[in-house]
């Protein structure tokens, strides 16, 4: 057993969970507690964006044979929210959006539950609704939440509920008016990005069971079980220790399984049944129309620059359509505000981000936290500005790039970063040589490549912000029964968390990987008020692991040192053995755990718990900001000038991860993000008809298949160490999403001379822009 060497950081390491996932053993939401006696829950969702409603025939549904419980908003009238309770558990009298739960039912079989739901007749009386950012912000628009100020937590937000602004953040540096006055050129543009769906392959769901003591145990595969415990407790008016959430691997989250959507209803209905387990699994259609979407964006950018290429000022407004609830999107606003200038050190800045309420499905942040959409605007804007200034976009970027030592925010000074290397390497990977400036008219078309082919690039920077009020906690137990047993408060959502935990412990304690077992996360292992980080786990969990392993090593060595009568400084653990460099004594840890040592014959056991909590929590704009992660994308595309049909010939992404702890895994994450980004950029758009989502399956909301992959992918790992990060590393999940869309758009521009400023980039949009360009050109002639 001991023959296997401990793991070394920075060397390939297989994902611990991979074997279980590939043999069908890993348990997902739908695999939990399958048993013939369990009950099955279904939810009735509103089908109108905003309406008074009446539920008729409730008794028929309630008395339908096999129905065990039925709840409406009159039975459980709770409000939910983490920061602000702007959602109801179940609507009462008035539904605010299509997809809002109106009732929940539990029955003996899924078929009975569906039949009973069909018996309920819903009568609607439509009320004035607002269905877009433009509508919500226009004077006289109906307020989505007229009673906002009465909600729990409302005072924490910077809201103007009567104008449908749910929360707004601003960041100002210097004097933008002055900056624009100094500028030789000013460019103003509007960019938009569509509503997206997280669309994990595993739909939302799980199992809940009322316990004899009135508490509820839930087996749910969610990204943030601790946050969910707190939100569900708040919604049901229970204390958090009455809610226990046990998780396992999550079949994809991308941000969609962080905040509570249907989970509180599952808990509520389980509490109203006879103590049998209740299962709720959403259909794909319900997943599309009844959970969360990712916010749509409208960005207005005004940028001024001197003729020599110095950007003097930026005024940027980012409006986000957060649907009928802002609670999940608050954190997203901080990220986009911090990233709002793009990776440029501009002396005069005014960035404002608004979360705008509409009568649409609530929004939750998507992987990338909106920073990808911010760059959709900024990185096209910079390219267009460069053209006006008669210089290459690359040069303009280099002129203005953020550098280490720049004092960007009140409490944040930029660290060394691989921003510039990322750009150079990405461009190089697609075979694009840095070019010399050319006259503007030539800039439009890429003379060096085939007609209809163009290359473009974009840089990206993305703040690594830790979860508000959250930390990471690790418990390591070392004893004869379980060897090295690890309890963590994070969840494996496909990023390889269990592998990371195992890798660090094996390396730090210098013990074989096989000794280490990571337990599934269970909220019962932690204090009721504990809230665990749910993203950027490399950072927070990494720090907790380093503390825990340091303490564990000290415990073990001091135990042995005491028996051997040597100072602890002589001792170390090497390949699973305690060794003394002075006396050359050796003691396998296994025999220590099996037989003990010295006088005390009873074998010892060791246990350590360590936590990490960010210290910079003060409510300022850069509160919780740890670092900026950089990326660059470069794309080579081919456009059919007749139809706008687009093929991505090559796509390169370079990401500065500080230190690639598990290089192949890092590359896999980058490649995955590249394909997901292509999907977001070219295919995805949540479409509504009168406020009702009509993108309700994978035919109407297509996501990328193998047929949509770029012909060549070039993932590039850049390593400029992050001094404050574990092993010099930083998280990569969010930031590798940043830059793909504008790189593709910039490449399209160089291929056929048109700019697409609305996401997704469809062939029809390219065609329309080409038609417009032709009309313009013939008008000039």
């Amino acid at each position: 057993m001991i023959s296997r060497k401990p793991h070394v950081i920075g060397k390939p390491f297989p994902l611990i969970e991979a074997q279980r996932k590939l043999t069908g053993v890993t348990c997902y939401a739908g695999d939990e507690k399958i048993n013939p006696d369990m009950l099955h829950a279904r939810i009735l969702f509103s089908e109108r964006p905003r309406a008074r409603f009446w539920l008729r025939n409730l008794d028929a549904a309630r008395n339908h044979p096999g129905v065990v419980a039925l709840l409406t908003g009159r039975d459980v009238d709770g409000r939910m929210g983490h920061t602000v309770a702007d959602r109801k558990l179940l609507a009462v009298d008035e539904a605010l959006y299509a997809g809002q739960p109106l009732a929940v039912i539990a029955a003996e079989t899924p078929e009975i539950a569906a039949e009973a739901l069909a018996l309920i007749q819903v009568d609607y009386e439509d009320l004035p609704a607002t269905l877009s950012i433009e509508e919500s912000l226009s004077p006289g628009a109906p307020a989505v939440h007229p009673d906002f100020m009465s909600y729990r937590g409302a005072e924490k937000l910077n809201a103007e509920p009567e104008r449908n602004i749910a929360h707004a953040l601003t960041f100002v540096r210097g004097d933008v008016d002055q900056g624009f006055a100094e500028a030789d050129v000013i460019l103003e543009r509007t960019y938009t990005a569509a509503h997206l769906q997280h669309a994990p392959m595993e739909t939302h769901g799980g199992v809940a069971q009322r316990q004899p003591d009135g508490s509820v145990t839930m087996w749910m595969h969610v990204q943030a079980p601790f946050l969910q415990r707190s939100i569900i407790a708040g919604a049901l008016g229970m204390s958090p220790e009455k809610i226990r959430i046990i998780t396992g691997c999550v079949g994809g989250s991308f941000g969609g399984k962080v905040f509570v959507s249907i989970e509180a209803l599952l808990a509520a209905i389980a509490l109203h049944t006879d103590g049998r387990p209740v299962r709720l699994l959403l259909t794909r259609e319900e997943e599309f129309k009844g959970v969360f979407m990712a916010p749509a964006m409208r960005a207005h950018i005004k940028m001024g620059a001197k003729q020599d290429g110095r950007i003097t000022a930026i005024e940027a407004t980012y409006d986000w359509d957060v649907g009928a609830s802002v609670d999940a999107a608050i954190f997203h606003l901080q990220a986009v505000t911090l990233a709002g200038t793009g990776p440029y050190a501009i002396p005069n800045v005014s960035v404002r981000t608004n979360a705008v309420y509409t009568n649409l499905l609530p929004a939750a942040p998507l992987r990338g936290l909106g920073v990808a959409q911010v760059h959709w605007a900024i990185e096209q804007h910079v390219a267009e500005l460069a053209e006006i200034l008669n210089m290459t976009a690359l040069n303009l970027r280099q002129w203005n790039l953020v550098k280490g030592g720049d004092h960007l925010f009140p409490n944040f000074v930029m660290h060394a970063s691989g921003l510039e290397s990322c750009g150079v390497l990405a461009v190089d990977a697609i075979g694009w040589r840095p070019e010399t400036p050319r006259p503007a008219e030539e800039n439009a078309a890429d003379a060096s490549v085939r007609p209809g082919v163009g290359r473009g690039m974009a840089l990206g920077w993305s703040p690594i912000i830790l979860s508000d009020q959250c930390g990471s906690s690790v418990t390591i137990r070392f004893d004869r029964e379980r060897l090295c047993d690890v309890v963590v408060d994070g969840v494996d959502i496909g990023q390889g968390l269990y592998a990371f935990v195992t890798q660090v412990i094996s390396f730090e304690l210098n013990i074989p990987v096989e000794w280490i077992t990571v337990e599934p996360t269970d909220t019962a292992n932690y204090a009721p008020d504990w809230e665990a980080s749910y993203h950027n786990l490399l950072w927070s969990m990494g720090h907790a692991l380093l503390r825990a392993t340091g303490e564990m090593k000290k415990q073990i060595l001091s135990y042995v040192a005491k028996v051997w009568g040597e100072p602890i400084s002589n001792l170390d653990i090497v390949d699973g053995e305690v060794v003394s460099y002075a006396s050359r004594r050796k003691l396998p840890l296994l025999s220590l755990l099996e037989e003990g040592m010295g006088e005390e014959k009873s074998p010892p056991s060791f246990s350590v718990t360590a936590t990490y909590r960010p210290s910079n929590v003060d409510g300022s704009i850069d509160s919780l900001l740890q670092s900026f992660a950089s990326t660059a994308y470069a794309a080579e595309v081919q456009v059919n000038p007749e139809t706008g049909d687009l093929t991505i010939l090559q796509l390169a992404a370079a990401a500065d991860v500080g230190h690639a702890l598990n290089p192949e895994s890092v590359r896999a994450q980058i490649k995955g993000a590249m394909i997901q980004s292509v999907s977001f950029t070219l295919l995805e758009e949540m479409v509504f008809e009168n406020g009702v989502p009509i993108s309700t399956d994978f035919m109407k909301y297509p996501i990328a298949t193998t047929a949509d992959m770029p012909l060549q992918l070039h993932p590039i790992v850049v390593e400029v160490p992050q001094r404050s990060g574990p092993y010099g590393a930083r998280d990569l999940s969010h930031h590798v999403q940043v830059g793909a869309a504008p790189a593709i758009a910039n490449a399209i521009y160089r291929a056929v001379g048109v700019r697409i400023r609305d996401l997704p980039i469809t062939a029809q949009r390219i065609y329309d822009a080409l038609q417009e360009k032709r009309a313009r050109e013939s008008a000039v002639r």
Partner: protein
């Protein structure tokens, strides 16, 4: 899914008896579309009738004079792998490669796909080019429906409620038949059809005869374009092609959909068809060279 009775008759007569019971019957070929309607509650038949075991339904027969007979329950994957298809019906084979996914092709049947009558049926477009004839059976007897008459538009067919497609017949084609299919979809696996254009011609001496043009995504059903075909006869010059393309534009009626406007579908079709026709002409030149 609502409860129903699954039955699997062994003969047409037995199938007919179920139709005669006065219950609602839905036919299961591969289920690719039936399941969607059963799952979402659009259909709730009393009986789901699986026709795979009816004699002849899974037959594939090819004769160099008589052509190809494809049983209604032959799956679409056979159009990809079947030797007789690959050799003698290259357009059908090329089209089949792009249909849906392996999972769907392994289940979906020829009869079921044709009876679904999707306005963007790529299978039907290809069959139109080959002058396929649909053979059906109902208790009153059998009949033959040319594929061009099967479709009435917008998912409607000429089939009666108790009528089964038994097989499809494709006449034999000379070995020197060239066929090309081009399509543009939003997602590259074929989802969200914007338009598709199939073209076929037979080489005779150094010219191209027997031109067949079928288009989809630009009308309420896949359609042949006889006016354009007439203009292409012989060895079309560039202006013949332009006239043929113009004739196509005069005979289509595309609709707006969420992901593509009608005018855009026209433009795309024009571009695709031009490429299809050109590819056939290039083929001839390669052949002659």
């Amino acid at each position: 899914m609502k409860a129903f009775d699954y039955i699997r008759p062994n003969s047409l007569e037995e199938a007919g008896r179920y139709f005669a019971q006065g219950k609602s019957v839905k036919i299961l070929g591969g289920g690719a579309t039936l399941f969607l309607q059963l799952q979402n509650g659009e259909l709730a038949p009393d009986i789901v009738m699986d026709v795979k075991d009816i004699p002849g339904f899974r037959d594939v027969r090819y004769h160099h004079n008589h052509g190809l007979k494809l049983g209604a329950a032959v799956n679409l994957q056979h159009l990809v792998t079947g030797l007789e298809i690959r050799r003698h019906y290259p357009l059908l084979n090329q089209t089949a490669h792009q249909l849906a996914s392996p999972q769907i092709r392994n289940r979906a049947t020829i009869g079921g796909t044709l009876a679904w009558a999707s306005p963007v049926s790529e299978l039907a477009a290809s069959m139109l080019c080959y002058d396929a004839v649909c053979h059906t059976w109902r208790p009153e007897g059998a009949r033959a429906i040319p594929i061009g008459e099967l479709y009435l538009g917008d998912f409607k067919t000429a089939l009666g409620p108790d009528e089964l497609i038994t097989h499809v017949h494709l006449p034999s084609f000379p070995v020197r038949t060239f066929g090309v299919y081009q399509r543009q979809t939003v997602r590259h696996d074929g989802r969200r059809m914007i338009a598709g254009a199939a073209a076929l011609a037979v080489r005779k001496h150094n010219a191209l005869t027997n031109w067949r043009i079928a288009v989809l995504g630009v009308d309420d059903r896949p359609k042949r374009m006889p006016e354009a075909e007439a203009l292409l006869a012989g060895a079309p010059a560039e202006e013949d092609i332009e006239q043929a393309l113009a004739a196509v534009q005069d005979n289509i009626h595309p609709q707006d959909v969420v992901y593509a406007r009608a005018d855009y579908r026209r433009t795309v079709l024009d571009s695709l068809l031009r490429r299809s026709i050109q590819a056939i002409i290039d083929n001839l030149q390669d052949y002659n060279a």
